[in-house]
Each structure stands twice: as structure tokens, then as C-alpha cells.
């Protein structure tokens, strides 16, 4: 994997994620951009690199977002790690050239990541009420956001030729899982 190329792709997707969040506000259902990017890299990169990519990309998002003035570092990082681990685990079962596989993985991995995110911030909100976290509203919004992510997965599939070349990814067979 070309680390620099992967960073450029994730950097652009991170910019899109932040820009949509900034333009539409916090209470609008919006597709995720960064998680499908992590999914794409996790589909083809070696397991360790895929997990690190998910963790660091999520950490970057953590550092750039806050909720009601409270900076919460960690949930996105763990969500990104979970997302990458999930893809690494099941990618062996997927036809990775298929658009449906890209879309399914984007939606499923995003859903899993969002569930982890909601769980972590819910626990945090018990100790820090200033976050003003409405669990069910957030859960509903994020489940819908996962569904909205399908077009992003599709768009990445359309651009896969350029993106994979840039990130130095190839679709030759890889191990489906690592030790942990």
C-alpha cells in the first residue's frame, strides 16, 4: 500500500466529511465519507495497515470534531478500527470487484462503526451530561446515515481504478483475517 496515496484519499474524504457537517449542521442525516474510504482501503490493504488506517483516520476525525464544546477523543478512532477489522474479517467472502460488495461493505461497516460510536458516547454522556446526548435520536440518525452511505460506496467503486492506483492497492488475493 502506498501510504502517501492512501493519506491523500482519506484527507480529501475527511475534508468532505467535515465540510458536509459544517454546511448542513449536526442534526441532519448525511452520508459518511471517511468510513467508506476506510472500507475501500481495508478491502485491499494488508490487515495490520488496514486497521492502523481505520484507527488513525478515526482519530483525525475525533480531533476535528466536538460536541457542545466538549472534545471527545476516541470514539471515531475505535469506530474506524472496528470498521476496518470488520472488512478485513469478511473481505475473503466478498467478490471485491463487484459494486454491490463495495456498497454492502460501506453500509454494513458504517453501521457497525456508528453503533460502536453511539455506545461509547452514550457511556461518556452518563459521566458528562454537558454533551447533551439523545441516544435514540442519534441512533436513528446514524443508522439512516449508514444507509445514505451506499451512494458513496458506489461512487468509490466507480473511481476505484484511480483510487486504487493512487493508494497502491491491488486486488490480488489476500488473507481474510489476521491473528486478532
Amino acid at each position: 500500500m502506498n501510504v502517501l496515496g492512501a493519506c491523500v484519499i482519506l484527507y480529501i474524504l475527511l475534508g468532505l466529511e467535515l465540510a458536509t457537517g459544517s454546511a448542513f449542521g449536526p442534526n441532519v442525516v448525511m452520508p459518511c465519507f471517511l468510513l467508506p474510504g476506510i472500507v475501500m482501503i481495508a478491502m485491499f490493504a494488508p490487515p495490520s495497515q488496514a486497521r492502523w488506517t481505520g484507527f488513525l483516520a478515526g482519530l483525525a476525525l475525533d480531533l476535528l470534531t466536538e460536541r457542545n464544546g466538549v472534545a471527545i477523543v476516541g470514539p471515531h478512532a475505535l469506530a474506524g478500527l472496528l470498521c476496518a477489522s470488520f472488512v478485513v474479517t469478511i473481505r475473503g467472502m466478498m467478490i471485491r470487484r463487484s459494486a454491490l460488495a463495495w456498497i454492502f461493505l460501506a453500509v454494513a461497516a458504517t453501521l457497525l462503526a456508528q453503533l460502536a460510536l453511539v455506545s461509547l458516547i452514550t457511556i461518556r454522556s452518563w459521566f458528562e451530561p454537558a454533551i447533551m446526548w439523545n441516544v435514540w435520536q442519534e441512533l436513528g440518525q446514524r443508522v439512516l446515515a449508514s444507509a445514505y452511505t451506499a451512494p458513496i460506496g458506489g461512487a468509490l467503486w466507480v473511481l476505484r481504478g484511480w483510487l486504487m492506483a493512487l493508494a497502491g492497492l491491488s486486488d490480488k488475493p489476500l488473507r481474510s483475517s489476521s491473528r486478532w
Binding site: L18, A71, V73, L81
Partner: protein, 306 residues
């Protein structure tokens, strides 16, 4: 180095940091530095996308961020409006007090005396008002309590708690006793609910009244004509202003407002009987000003000469 193990440790650390309250994690000064750095790094890609998205949306709708800003601005506007109206009300009240003070001083040149700032009324006990005071004020017993600077409320009956609480006997309380006043022909309250007085002149005709509390929050008594005045020169009417004119009260307190005439009837013997109501109900005031002469206050517990 086993990078998988490092990742595992990092994930555990991230899990802990994500659920721990901020007060436990602010010690990691690294976080704020990283945040600041990341904001700078992300800005070149975030700003153009934000601009493009906002431009694409154009005037089709207000963005969520804008909507929340607008809601915040609306709340602020309401807060400022409330503050403005409060200031206006305070301004109006102060103007009325200045006018009332001016009029009262016209009627009583020795009106100005030492007085406290408004003191909060804590409550009521045995028909006496409990007023928060301070030992340093040296309020004497028999000092005069007024509301809005010129409306007589009562007299300080006692000072308790080492000078921290003053008990005020309202003039309309049954234990207050007789009080004498004067009604000027040309003076009226602006309206039945108003505490403002209009058209005071020094040359108007006047009658004296001797009032006693009725137990209903009012005072009533007979009107009598001053020596040298022409009988029938003045007819007492409702809405007229009754002021203090009583030799048993200090010179500085003369011409304080006792209340408004709410009833004026002719008795079978031809004398006029009036009932007056304090313009400001002594039992409903929230703060009082205590007036007393400086020499009396300096003495501590001694009362003023009355």
C-alpha cells in the same frame, strides 16, 4: 516492534479516553495541541468543500449551522429586549421618584435627610415587616421606612439580631396609632392605580386630617380645617393625595405621602370623614428605604428626636 500490539494498546487507551469525563483527560495537554494542528491541516481541504457545498445550495435553504445561529441570535435578541424593557421600567420609576422628591422638597425644605439604600423585606411577623439591615447602618428605632423614596410605609419598631433585622410597624397596622396629615386641593394621583402625583402648588387650599388604622389596610378619620382657613374653601374628593403633617414626626419626614383618598363622606354632624389607602401597600413592598437623621444614626440604638 509488534505494531499489532501497539494498536491494541492504543485502542484500549482510546476506549478509556472516550468514556472518561473531560476533567480526567485535560491533563493530557497533547490533545489540545493535536487538535490545533489537525484543524490547520484539515483547513485547506475542508474550506473549499464547504464553500462549494454552500454555493451549490445557494439560497435554496438555510443551512443547519445558520439555522442554529439564527435561533441563538433570536434568543439573544429576546434577552436584550427583556433587559431593555427592564431598564426602561427602571428609568421610568427613577423619573417618578425624582419628580416626587422634587415636589416633596418643595413642600418641606428640610426633607433631605440621611437614608439607606433600598433594603429587602424578608417577610412579615406579628403584622410587622422584617427588613434586612446591617449593624453598620446604625438604624435607630423610630426611624422612618419609605417606599419609592416618598411613600410613607411605617416606623422602625425595633432592631433585632445585632442590627441585622429591622421590624417596621406599617402605618396601616392597627398598632400604629393615630397619624395626622394634610390634603392639598390641587394635588391628585395621576390615576387610581398610579403612585405618581400631579400638579403640586404651594398656594393651594388645604385641610388637615386625623387618621386611625381601620384594620382593613386603610386609615380613616375626620377632616378639620386649619385655623385661619376659610370653611368650605375646599371639598375633599377621591383621588386626592394625603401627606404627612404631624408634629410627632421629625421635620424632615413631613410631607411624605400617606396615601390616596378612596372615600370622602359627610357625617350627620356635618364633618367630613375620609378613608385613605396607602398608594403602595405596606404589606406588599419588596424593599424599603429607612430615613433617619445623621446624629441619631451615629448614636446607635438611640432614636431620633420626634
Amino acid at each position: 516492534m509488534n505494531w499489532n500490539r501497539v494498536l491494541l494498546v492504543s485502542a484500549v487507551a482510546a476506549g478509556l479516553v472516550s468514556v472518561l469525563p473531560s476533567r480526567f483527560t485535560t491533563a493530557f495537554g497533547l490533545r489540545d495541541g493535536l487538535r490545533a494542528g489537525m484543524v490547520i491541516v484539515a483547513l485547506p481541504v475542508q474550506a473549499p468543500f464547504t464553500w462549494i457545498i454552500r454555493s451549490a445550495r445557494g439560497s435554496s435553504g438555510q443551512s443547519g449551522a445558520d439555522a442554529s445561529s439564527a435561533a441563538l441570535a433570536q434568543l439573544e435578541a429576546q434577552e436584550w429586549k427583556k433587559n431593555y424593557l427592564t431598564a426602561m421600567q427602571e428609568n421610568q420609576s427613577l423619573r417618578e421618584q425624582i419628580n416626587a422628591l422634587g415636589r416633596t422638597q418643595q413642600l418641606n425644605v428640610s426633607f433631605i435627610t440621611r437614608e439607606t439604600s433600598p433594603l429587602p423585606v424578608l417577610g412579615l411577623t406579628d403584622q410587622l415587616l422584617l427588613v434586612r439591615s446591617a449593624a453598620s447602618l446604625n438604624i435607630p428605632t423610630n426611624a422612618v421606612a419609605v417606599a419609592d423614596r416618598v411613600h410613607l410605609v411605617g416606623r422602625v419598631a425595633s432592631i433585632d439580631g445585632g442590627g441585622r433585622v429591622a421590624r417596621v410597624q406599617p402605618i396601616s397596622g392597627l398598632a400604629a396609632g393615630e397619624i395626622k396629615g394634610v390634603i392639598l386641593d390641587s394635588e391628585r394621583f395621576e390615576s387610581p392605580e398610579s403612585t405618581s402625583v400631579t400638579s403640586t402648588t404651594l398656594t393651594s387650599a388645604r385641610v388637615r386630617v386625623s387618621l386611625k388604622p381601620t384594620g382593613r389596610g386603610t386609615l380613616s378619620g375626620l377632616v378639620f380645617i386649619e385655623r385661619g382657613s376659610e370653611p368650605g374653601a375646599m371639598r375633599v374628593q377621591t383621588g386626592m393625595v394625603v401627606r404627612l403633617l404631624d408634629e410627632s414626626w421629625a421635620a424632615a419626614d413631613q410631607m411624605l405621602i400617606l396615601g390616596r383618598v378612596i372615600r370622602a363622606e359627610e357625617a350627620p354632624n356635618g364633618r367630613t370623614v375620609v378613608e385613605i389607602q396607602p398608594a403602595i401597600d405596606p404589606y406588599r413592598v419588596s424593599s424599603l428605604t429607612i430615613r433617619f437623621s445623621s446624629d441619631a444614626g451615629a448614636g446607635g440604638s438611640g432614636g431620633p428626636e420626634r
